[in-house]
Amino acid sequence: MQTLIDVNSLSGGYDKNLVIKDLSFEVKKGEFLGIIGPNGSGKSTLLKLMSRALVPRSGTIALEGKDIKSMDLKEFCRKTAFVPQDTVINFSFSVEEIVLMGRIPHLRRMQFETKKDFSIAHNALSLTDTLYIKDKEISELSAGERQRVVIAKALAQEPMLLFLDEPTSHLDIGHQAQILDLLKKMNREKDLTIVMVMHDLNLASEYCSRIILLDHGAIFKNDSPEEVLTYQNIETVYKTVVVVKKNPVSFKPYVILVSGERSGCPQE
């Protein structure tokens, strides 16, 4: 498989606080990569560095062999898109207007959207099952609908690589499955490469083809879900007792939390 992203001894963070320390890894074309780790391990910071929302302290990130730092930002945004955890929009844009904004990287300054841009936006709306609310105001939507619209906006950018930062953490189990199934479908059918930060270990196990487990800004493990999600790894990094079983349907690892009083270990 072709290498899409090559991260090389990357370090970065905020002001004096170095969050990501000397990370190196690759993302292959067509992968569904999950990034997991405890709070403060640097998952979101890593995603920000990879998506150019944050400038690295040192190290390089190459997209298709080109250093992203020297790439034109609009060109970069024609190839990658980003879906945040939750989007708060103070102004009463309609759903269609929001999704059309996904076309901004493809438009020249002062250029209005063409028929083609509208059809791409409508296609993204129907893929995320939001075409029926296209004239609604974004502020009237439920969290699940809003997140689908934000994903539609990202898809309207026609990226080859999609970054997502815990896109389903505010959603109920039904909406979680709906969004992750959609991403899986886009990943399989459209060869969309996905790099997603996830909180829920079992969802990561279920959907990702590979998982990177972060601990204190460094890679603890970078392998298939079966290799990463072992009780030894999780207990070491999360400092929590767990039991790992096989999901009876998908045969992927399934992580079960053992509550403090049953685990028999005195809590520190």
Binding site: L73, K74, C77, T87, F91, F93, M101
Partner: protein, 320 residues
């Protein structure tokens, strides 16, 4: 742009022309259009046209600056004076009056005061290469209050004459004292509005979030800096010749968002037209209600703007 929005913009344009025609015929003497074109009435025609131009510039400049700042600060309650231009210009003007600088240079000193204050507010809010939205609003408010305190102190220490000059600043005035100044301000304001309109798509993206804008390929920090600079230039040049005119920058963008929506490629032209209409009307009231006395324009905009704003706010709450 949909058909209904095009129709709404056209509608605003027609109202603007109607308002201009009405405003040139009204004043301390009411003249018909044919009378105005007579040779002996030419000076009145020119005077009124200059005044209408001034009113349109002040309205459009303040309201479009308001739109831009509201998008950048992601707060629809942001005022064009939020970066401290009004208090800075006020302090500059009062210092000029007290020191006894010739009144011809008053706008220059006021302009310098406004720009220096904006720079102070901006540098207080910036950390490294970035400017936080919250800290910008906060430092703007703090510096405005501090400068206002100095203004009040200076006014209380000086004679009545200076006080009268001060009122002119506090409540705005659209009288054109110097036609050259009008043209300089027109140049700055029109150029600024065009520049903001060119950045309309960037404003759309930034108004949904700074990081979201970066992910759409917009260099957010640079765009913010450009917009702060443009709005500071527009408001500083306006405040230096017409003083502080409140509410236009707040109320017109609000009304236009209700009329044409938040998309800046439509919102900016609509706001530009509507605020010109609003200001020409307010100016007409200020000249004619107690004629030959003139009510300061800021009094009119506040008296119309405040109740209107409360109604809009209540309406919005009811929707939510």
């Amino acid at each position: 742009m949909t058909r209904s929005i095009r129709r709404k913009i056209l509608f605003l344009f027609v109202i603007l022309i109607g308002t201009v025609l009405l405003a040139i015929t009204r004043g301390s003497v009411n003249l018909t259009l044919t009378e105005l074109l007579l040779h002996e009435n030419r000076p009145i025609l020119y005077l009124r046209l200059a005044r209408i131009l001034m009113a349109s510039l002040a309205g459009s400049g303040l309201a479009v600056s308001g739109v831009a700042l509201q998008a950048v600060l992601r707060n629809s309650l942001a005022e064009p004076y939020i970066l401290g231009t009004s208090s800075g210009a006020g302090l500059g003007a009062i210092l000029a009056i007290i020191i006894g600088i010739s009144s011809a240079y008053l706008p220059v000193v006021a302009f310098l005061g406004a720009i220096l204050t904006t720079i102070l507010v901006y540098s207080m809010a910036s950390q490294g290469n970035k400017v936080g939205v919250q800290s910008l609003i906060l430092s703007g408010v703090i510096i405005s209050i501090a400068l206002s305190a100095i203004i009040v102190f200076l006014v209380s220490m000086s004679s009545n004459e200076a006080l009268h000059g001060m009122m002119w600043w506090l409540w705005g005035n659209l009288q054109v004292y110097d036609i050259r100044l009008l043209f300089i301000v027109a140049f700055i304001v029109i150029l600024g509005i065009i520049a903001i309109f060119i950045l309309a798509q960037d404003l759309n993206a930034i108004s949904i979030g700074e990081e979201e804008a970066i992910h759409l390929g917009i260099n957010t920090e640079t765009t913010k800096k450009i917009l702060f600079f443009i709005t500071a230039m527009i408001t500083a040049s306006l405040v230096s010749i017409c003083g502080i005119i409140g509410f236009v920058g707040l109320i017109v963008p609000h009304m236009m968002r209700l009329l044409v929506g938040p998309n800046h490629r439509v919102l900016i032209p609509a706001t530009c037209l509507a605020s010109a209409i609003f200001m020409i009307m307010c100016d007409m009231f200020s000249r004619t209600i107690l004629s030959p006395l003139e009510i300061p324009i800021g009094v009119i905009t506040a008296l119309i703007g405040a109740p209107l704003f409360i109604i809009l706010l209540k309406k919005k709450q009811r929707i939510k």
